[in-house]
């Protein structure tokens, strides 16, 4: 579900909730975002390693037990900042990015952030792109108009989802936090 680009940011989001072990992160990631495509352990630790190298997380002392996964990871200020910047940024209004939209909404709800504000920003970005495509459709050649239409229908579908999600935020927030 989550595009490869967002895995580190999604893990940061999960760590923003509470310091966690790698296997906790994997379990939560798989149940919330995996949708039948679990994150390999190797990728979890490689990602955490890169995040640690970049100062976004710090690894605690290895705890007694076996294997490298007995470390608790804590998000840093820099990590929080990076995650928050990403969360607030509207997704580029291209078709088929619903999965990133979905990820952001679930994380925002889970962390008690203002998901409505985020959805409104996204809605504005989508509509801005739809206005551009509508203009292209009105003024461009037939092929441009066809392409514009394709984009418009996908963005329209996204927007309907955004509408419905906005209307259901309270119920969703409860479901995600419980």
């Amino acid at each position: 579900m989550v595009s490869p680009m967002s895995v580190p940011l999604t893990l940061l989001g999960l760590l923003e909730r509470e310091p966690s072990h790698g296997y906790d992160l994997k379990r939560d990631y798989d149940s919330l975002f995996g949708r039948g495509k679990p994150l390999p352990y190797g990728q979890v630790y490689a990602t955490l390693g890169r995040l640690a190298r970049d100062g976004k997380v710090v690894a605690g002392e290895a705890e007694p037990g076996d294997g490298p996964e007995r470390k608790r990871y804590v998000i840093t200020e820099a990590g929080v900042t990076e995650f928050e910047t990403w969360l607030k940024d509207p997704v580029a209004p291209e078709p088929n990015l619903q999965s990133v939209l979905f990820t952001k909404v679930v994380l925002a709800l889970m962390l008690g952030r203002d998901a409505e504000e985020y959805l409104d920003t996204q809605r504005a970005a989508h509509l801005r792109r739809m206005r551009e495509l509508t203009e292209l459709r009105r003024t461009g050649a037939l092929v441009d108009a066809l392409l514009a239409d394709h984009g418009l229908f996908h963005l329209d579908a996204d927007l309907r989802w955004i509408d419905l999600t906005t209307a259901r935020l309270d119920a969703l927030a409860e479901a995600v936090r419980s």
Binding site: S3, M5, D89, P90, V91, A92, P93, E94, L97, V100, D120, T121, R123, A124, A125, H126, L127, R128, M130, R131, L133, T134, R138, L152, L155, D156, L159, R160, D163, A167
Partner: protein, 230 residues
Amino acid sequence: MTAVIEARDVALAFGETPALRGANLSVEAGEVLAIMGPSGSGKSTLLHCLAGILVPDAGEVLFNGRRLDVMPEAQRSALRRDKFGFVFQFGQLVPELTAEENVALPLLLNGVRRAAALAEARPWFARLGLDGLEQRRSGELSGGQAQRVALARGLVARPQVLFADEPTGALDSLTGEQVMELMVDAAREQGTTVILVTHEPRVAAYADREAIVRDGQARALSTGAGSVAS
């Protein structure tokens, strides 16, 4: 930039039901504004307040800086006839009149003589792709044709503001977009400001800007080229 229409803290209840609770909105001259929002959130009520059809319980509605909400009804209704045009979800054409007479109606109501009013109405048929339908009655028009006749009627008197409540709501998406395209082109050409209520994103995309009504409150969405990243 000058506001043609402005709502300031407009509140209105139908009996116990609050429909608007402090709605604020400002519409610039020549702008096409889409009002969106969930069903029952107060969009139509807001539109009716802006158009002087409903009088708010509290707050102010200004038209060119003048208080619409405190005008006597007779003055408000004269202003609606002179300065405003309307298009609704179902064209609401007068069934006894021909298409041509329907288009001419606002002019006739404004005291324009019949021959002159019909002469003004006629060019709209070619313009909106309605050639040859001038003498039909509303029962003899398709939904899309009837809605284009209603659009011509809404614009024929060159209103300063066109109010449209779900003007494409009863049409399929292709026909709806044709109506939108004609509406926006014609309005731009004659400098008419358009305030459009719609729940369809594809229809709203014809507007310059959109406002959202939620729980009886209106807010403008941010416009301009904001940063967008993935």
